[in-house]
């Protein structure tokens, strides 16, 4: 009985009209789709029209659209001749003519079913990994959110990563009519014909603009033929829907008028929440740079088109178009590989994924014995040049969050304004231990120079960039040196003479400054264009500044640091306007970049009474605040009465031991180890080969090319004939079905296996990464709990051991 059911399903294989409406749920649509597959009653309207056009009129001259369903129902009404009296049809002829119509429908239905099943297989994986906020699973948008909550603003120096900056923004109410217009335009693409809906153009429109309407315009120019294809099978892959495009453009134009506060950084992305049209199961995604459509649940593929009449196509090329029907049997022209950064790789998170990376992005040789394969696609490159310690050198103490900027503007200079000239009228306020006087001019033969801190706290920063457009980045570099000196004693040259003057000290201090500079270049997209990493940039330039060659770090063979610098400078000079950086030194000082401002704002002390400190509320910045306040307290002040700051010598007086017992909070803190979290390589070729091999093994065959040859071996039974002819005959007849069950089982599980492989890539990364984050959260939570338990004394410590 099972076999009969299977045969019924296969032989029928007919699709009924899609009675399910757009409002139907996912399950209802799948159920209707499955019922249509098995029912024998009605054909899709598109198939109906197609069969009518190609049915040989010599058999049934009066065959019309309505006769298709009648043929499926087995009705003799289809057997009409135009002259029933003189040319009546023989009774035995009608079933044959009817059967021909059924077979024509069957073939098209089978093909459409296969394409739909392929779409379901793909959707089973893709639905959970959409890119945009508001979707069912939101991994891709949660991660940047977590990073933003944690990240301190000094991370540009501490752990520089040129992450794409993403900002979320909410729609204004004035946008609602624009979305309604898009929805109504999409609804209008349905073609209602009695109870059979034609979704071909609606489905095509959504897929057409899935990567954004601007990209379509960029690749294909202006919109000509509205809602029409070019008369080929794949016509709706390239068709344009001009009115819909215009309505998407209206949304795009509206969001261009939004003002962002704070202003957007170069290359910063802005993403808006998705707008879901529940009735259509479609959503509109909106970014600042493009607007597009996508399916809520991808069920409908763009099926090979069958209609090339004037209502569907603006051209009727022959072949394949004959009598307004698109005939099969020809292979379409191969599609070109999309250019880089187009299509799927234009989306902000997808472009960082496996499919959008070329294998050539690995820029260093793999170690011997490694399992890397040329077919593998890697998301990570080589390790950065390994800097020899020390990476950082301070005069005293850790100088937490000293380099880089993490604070907003509060107090500043008490008197005067820093101009590009030497300013003798500058005076710091009571919150600052130093102030910066920037000067654009000759810097003693160098492009930039930060002089020693003077007695009154003045630190002169000289800028003389050979390429004026590099002034901002140079300014960032020099300000890091200013920050390194700011808290040191005035008038001394420990920093300049003893630290910078030594080989290791030069590397350590210059590396920090170049990290900040190179991170800024990376953030603006310059390093990506030139093709180097931030760490490589910082290491190479540190070598240049500290004596050349490999003075600080051994770089890969063939690395030319000078050329690297030239490439960067040339790019910045050529693209200064679009990068939004100052084009001259004067401009860089008069209108400082936001990053420069942050560095200047971070010079004053954080904990001085009557001094304000403002910063973005993140875990990292809060930690900077606590750390700097504690450091300031212990380095410059005495927390226990006595003679000297506690960090300089051991207990100065016997009653120092009268202080409370050290609770050792944080002393035994188990921090998560700094593991490198390798992203597993993606091996699609290997996976495909393994699947093909397994398919052949299931059928007891060796690997064959093409693998489809493993699905059925006609010689198997012939090689092992049975003694009894009847059994032999039955074996021959049944052997396809034995392979069929294996093939269909394999087909059903393959998509699940593929999906699991994809998910396992996620797991391989997230397992250690999230564990490390969880450990960090536990540790921080313990610290906070300990801080909560700290008892502050309400009595001053005893002056000496005998006095109370």
């Amino acid at each position: 009985m099972r076999k009969q059911l299977i045969l019924t399903g296969i032989l029928a294989g007919l699709t009924a009209s899609t009675v399910a409406s757009a409002q139907d749920s996912l399950y209802e649509r799948l159920l209707q789709f499955t019922r249509d597959e098995y029912s024998m009653e009605k054909a899709e309207v598109i198939v109906e029209r197609f069969v009518t056009k190609i049915y040989p009129r010599k058999f049934l001259p009066l065959f019309t659209d309505a006769d298709v369903d009648l043929a499926l129902a087995g009705s003799n009404e289809v057997c009409r001749t135009d002259d029933p009296i003189n040319e009546p049809m023989e009774q035995f002829e009608c079933p044959n003519y009817r059967e021909l119509a059924v077979k024509l429908v069957e073939k098209q239905a089978w093909l459409r079913q296969v394409v739909r099943d392929l779409q379901l297989s793909a959707s089973s994986y893709e639905i959970g990994i959409d890119n945009y906020h508001g979707r069912i699973v939101r991994l891709q948008t949660r991660l940047p959110s977590i990073v933003q909550i944690w990240q301190g603003d000094t991370d540009i120096v501490q752990s520089p990563i040129a992450e794409t900056k993403v900002r979320g923004y909410v729609y204004e109410s004035s946008m609602t009519p624009l979305f309604t217009a898009v929805e109504s335009e999409l609804t209008g693409l349905y073609d209602d014909t009695a109870d059979k809906k034609d979704r071909e153009r609606f489905v095509a429109a959504v897929w057409r603009y899935r990567h954004g309407f601007k990209q379509v315009q960029q690749l294909n120019g202006g919109c000509g033929n509205d809602k029409l294809g070019n008369g080929t099978e794949l016509q709706f892959l390239l068709a344009r829907f001009c009115t819909l495009e215009q309505k998407l453009e209206d949304i795009y134009n509206q969001i261009q008028t939004v003002t962002f506060d704070p202003p957007l950084k170069p290359n910063e992305l802005v993403m808006f929440p998705v707008k879901i049209f529940d009735d259509l199961q479609v959503y509109v995604w909106v970014r600042l740079d493009d607007v597009g459509l996508m399916w809520d649940v991808h069920l409908d593929p763009v099926l090979p088109s069958l209609d090339c009449s004037g209502s569907r196509s603006y051209a009727q090329p022959d072949p394949p178009c004959q009598n307004d029907a698109i005939m099969g049997g020809t292979y379409p022209n191969p599609l070109d590989d999309p250019p880089e950064g187009i299509g799927l790789c234009s989306h902000p998170f997808a472009k960082r994924g496996y499919l959008c990376r070329s294998p050539e992005t690995i820029r260093c040789p793999e170690p011997q014995g490694s399992a890397a394969d040329p077919d593998d696609i890697h998301l990570i490159g080589c390790k950065a040049p390994i800097m020899e310690p020390p990476y950082r050198w301070t005069e005293a103490g850790p100088n937490i969050c000293n380099e880089g900027g993490w604070r907003a503007e509060t107090q500043g200079l008490k008197k005067g304004v820093d101009t590009p000239d030497r300013d003798n009228d500058l005076e710091p306020d009571q919150c600052s231990r130093c102030y910066v006087d920037t000067f654009c001019g000759q810097c003693g033969g160098q492009e930039g120079l930060t002089k020693a801190k003077e007695l009154d706290g003045r630190i002169e920063v000289c800028l003389n960039a050979q390429d004026p457009a590099m002034s901002t980045y140079l300014y960032i570099h020099e300000l890091v040196h200013a920050q390194q000196q700011c808290d040191g004693p005035a008038g001394s040259s420990i920093f300049r003479d003893e630290i910078i003057g030594s080989a290791d000290g030069c590397c350590a201090t210059e590396y920090q400054a170049y990290l900040a500079q190179c991170d800024a270049l990376g953030e603006d997209g310059v390093l990506q264009e030139v093709g180097i990493t931030i760490q490589m940039c910082a290491a190479a330039f540190s070598n240049l500044s500290c004596g050349g060659g490999s003075s600080c770090v051994e770089l890969p063979p063939g690395t030319d640091s000078n050329q690297m610098y030239r490439d960067i400078a040339d790019y910045v000079q050529a693209h200064a306007a679009e990068l939004g950086v100052a084009t001259s030194c004067d401009d860089a000082v008069t209108n400082p970049d936001a990053r420069v401002k942050k560095q200047l704002n971070s010079l004053p002390q954080v904990c001085s009474p009557t001094c304000k400190t403002i910063y973005r509320n993140t875990i990292g910045n809060n930690a900077c605040m606590v750390g700097q306040c504690v450091e300031e307290s212990f380095e410059r002040h005495r927390m226990i009465p006595g003679r000297m700051p506690i960090t300089v010598q051991d207990e100065a007086f016997p009653w120092d031991s009268d202080s409370a017992e050290d609770p050792n909070f944080g002393e035994f803190l188990m921090l998560a180890p700094q593991l490198s979290m390798p992203l597993p390589p993606y091996r699609p070729a290997l996976l495909a080969r393994q699947m093909d091999n397994f398919f052949c093994q299931l059928n007891g065959l060796p690997m064959r090319i093409p693998p489809i040859l493993c699905s059925f071996d006609p010689l198997r039974q012939l090689r092992s004939p049975t003694k009894d002819f009847g059994n032999f005959w039955e074996g021959l007849v049944n052997q396809p079905y034995e392979n069929e069950s294996v093939r269909s089982l394999f087909e059903e599980t393959a998509s699940g296996i593929g999906s699991r492989v994809g998910i396992s890539v996620y797991r391989h990364y997230f397992d250690p990464a999230l564990s490390a984050l969880e450990n960090m959260i536990e540790s921080v939570s313990d610290l906070l709990r300990n801080m909560e338990q700290t008892e502050f004394p309400d009595e001053m410590c005893r002056r000496n051991a005998n006095n109370p």
Partner: protein, 263 residues
């Protein structure tokens, strides 16, 4: 005693094998090891009966509803579960071992409670939101069994229903004068067609739906973990914010003065 049977070696061997088999069968039988019987502590067997008359299925729709309503009821229940699953989870228990618990008032919980494997509260407690696949597949299995069972006893069931309709709630008559065999054949044919269609359609439809939603099921725990980490990060940020506020009070402890202070 067995000399007639021990005349030749072949008979001896055959007899030995038979005796061993009987002893083994007896041993197994005495142990009562049957997959059709409930294991200890469980109300349902490992191999459940494929019939709609099992008392454990008493709360399911095919016990009480008319046959024509069965497909609608089944598909409606499955639709509700899938629609519910496609929405983001309402509850994420970040501090519990099961961060995506199954609520008993949910559509999925409702179906699970009606099925024998999860009628026990302890077994039900082990389910979570992402067990939508196993619950629905079990529900489908029970539905298919009901259809097959009904198809097998179609004649008797149709006649029984006819007599019950005639009785109208009262005692079932011995004879129904208006009973028409032709009507019986037509009704049987109609039901059989519907049963065949449902058997052919229900499983592929559910498998297709599960194919779509299982990608969400596989990523959903990860998404929930990330959600919890996001929340924890926000809490930490707020906690550290308070700590930084407290650290601003440190200057009050600076430079505690006494007569020996030099700086």
């Amino acid at each position: 005693m067995f000399s007639p049977f021990l005349r030749n070696e072949q008979n001896t061997k055959t007899l030995s094998v038979l005796i061993i088999v009987c002893i083994l069968g007896l041993a197994v039988g005495i142990r009562g090891h049957s997959l059709a019987a409930p294991p200890q502590g469980k109300p349902y067997p490992i191999l459940e009966p494929c019939t709609r008359y099992e008392p454990l299925y008493s709360s399911l729709f095919f016990k009480n509803e008319k046959f024509d309503d069965w497909p609608e009821k089944y598909h409606e229940k499955v639709r509700e579960v899938i629609e519910e699953y496609m929405q983001p989870p309402e509850t994420i228990e970040c501090l519990e071992p099961n961060i995506l618990p199954l609520e008993s008032n949910s559509a999925l919980g409702d179906i699970a409670l009606s099925l024998p494997p999860w009628q026990d509260p302890n077994d039900f407690a082990k389910l979570d939101r992402n067990d939508v696949g196993i619950v629905l597949l079990e529900f489908l299995r029970v539905y298919e069994c009901a259809l097959v069972d009904h198809n097998y006893y179609l004649v008797l069931d149709v006649i029984e229903e006819r007599f019950k309709d005639e009785a109208g709630g009262g005692p079932i008559p011995a004879i129904v004068p208006s009973f028409d065999y032709q009507e019986l054949i037509v009704e049987m044919e109609r039901r059989r067609k519907k049963i065949l269609q449902e058997i052919a359609v229900a499983r592929p439809a559910l498998e297709r739906a599960l194919q779509i939603i299982t990608s969400i099921a596989r990523l959903s725990p990860l998404d929930a973990e990330m959600h919890c980490l996001q929340r924890a990060s926000l809490d930490l940020r707020n906690g550290l914010g308070l700590a930084s506020d407290a650290s601003v009070c440190l200057p009050k402890g600076w430079d505690a003065k006494d007569v020996l202070r030099d700086l």
